[in-house]
Amino acid sequence: MNLAATTAFFGTDIPTLVAGVILLFSILLMLVRAIAGPTVWDRILALNAIGTKSVLVVALLGFMTKRPEFLDIALVYAILNFLATIAILKYARKRRLG
């Protein structure tokens, strides 16, 4: 199968496809760590990493569907992810919020 036929079959170009597969696989690895993780820090790190990966998934989706405006949504996700991580870390350190 040559390059053009592969592109037509998958509906997107090869680098985007490879990036998508790697992203989803890394999300799966993080999910395993979040479920199995023995310590609290493993789980916090897994959550934060999945947040970062979802930012990348939204950005990748924008380029896959030829709508780079999705980058704005990805930025909003990054901000929200930061907020939740701060609250979780505060709870993990002090056992209280606020």
């Binding site: 509906g11 496809l17 999300i27 479920i35 998934v57 949504i73 996700y77 929200l80 979780i88």
Partner: protein, 222 residues
């Protein structure tokens, strides 16, 4: 095969894993983490479905505020679930049955993005554009009007043309899609029922959270 379909399938599989793990895990802190992961993946899925506003809400409420609220609940309670629950088979069966019925119900729905879905082509405004009930001088009942409209039924193509481009003072036939019509041209109805939903939720919260001092059946609502 469309790449977004593949993305959808993998994302939903991950969502299912996260959801089941969030229920099954005994450490409540881990459960909160997994619920947050569930929301993040769901937000990605909504984005692939082109529902960007829903995705925003899911990310802000599901992954942001809900996580913080659940953390606040963890402050007040313990961190591990002590009682191991047994599976309640009749309840599981009832859930499966309802789920199967809902999936069966979706078989009748039009395909995703179908331009010929009933919501787009149903000629509901055709009669209104012909003769507005409020302006009707003959004093006939509403049913008579409907019958007359049905008698004067034109071909579906004509009706659709009128639906799409009705021109009168009341926004009837403003847009062909009925849902969009309610959201855009009949904004007041949308807001009215949204307000009703939020009011009901607020009343429920007040009733739940007003405390349990004394006889709950005595005294006022608050």
């Amino acid at each position: 095969m469309s790449p977004t379909i593949m993305l959808d399938v993998v994302l939903l599989a991950l969502v299912i894993i996260a959801g089941i793990a969030a229920i099954e895990v005994r450490n409540l802190f881990a459960s909160v983490m997994l619920a947050s992961i569930y929301s993040l993946l769901m937000a990605c899925f909504w984005t692939t479905m082109d529902a960007v506003d829903v995705a925003y809400t899911e990310a802000a409420v599901g992954a942001g505020i809900s996580t913080i609220l659940l953390m606040g609940a963890l402050v007040l309670t313990g961190e591990t679930e002590i009682v191991r629950r047994a599976v309640h088979w009749p309840a599981l069966g009832a859930c499966m049955l309802v789920g199967a019925l809902l999936v069966y119900g979706t078989l009748d729905m039009p395909k995703f993005g179908d331009a010929n879905a009933p919501a787009h082509v149903h000629p509901i405004y055709a009669g209104f554009t012909k003769q507005d009930i409020r302006k009707d001088p003959s004093g006939k009942s509403h049913d008579d009007n409907v019958a007359a409209e049905k008698a004067a039924a034109h071909t579906e193509a004509e009706a659709h043309a009128e639906t799409a481009h009705g021109h009168d003072d009341y926004f009837h036939g403003h847009v062909p899609n009925q849902v969009t019509s309610v959201i855009v041209a009949y904004r007041a109805f949308d807001t009215l029922f949204e307000t009703a939903v939020i009011f009901t939720a607020g009343m429920g919260l007040i009733v739940l959270l007003r405390g349990r001092r004394g006889n709950p059946l005595k005294g006022g609502l608050l």
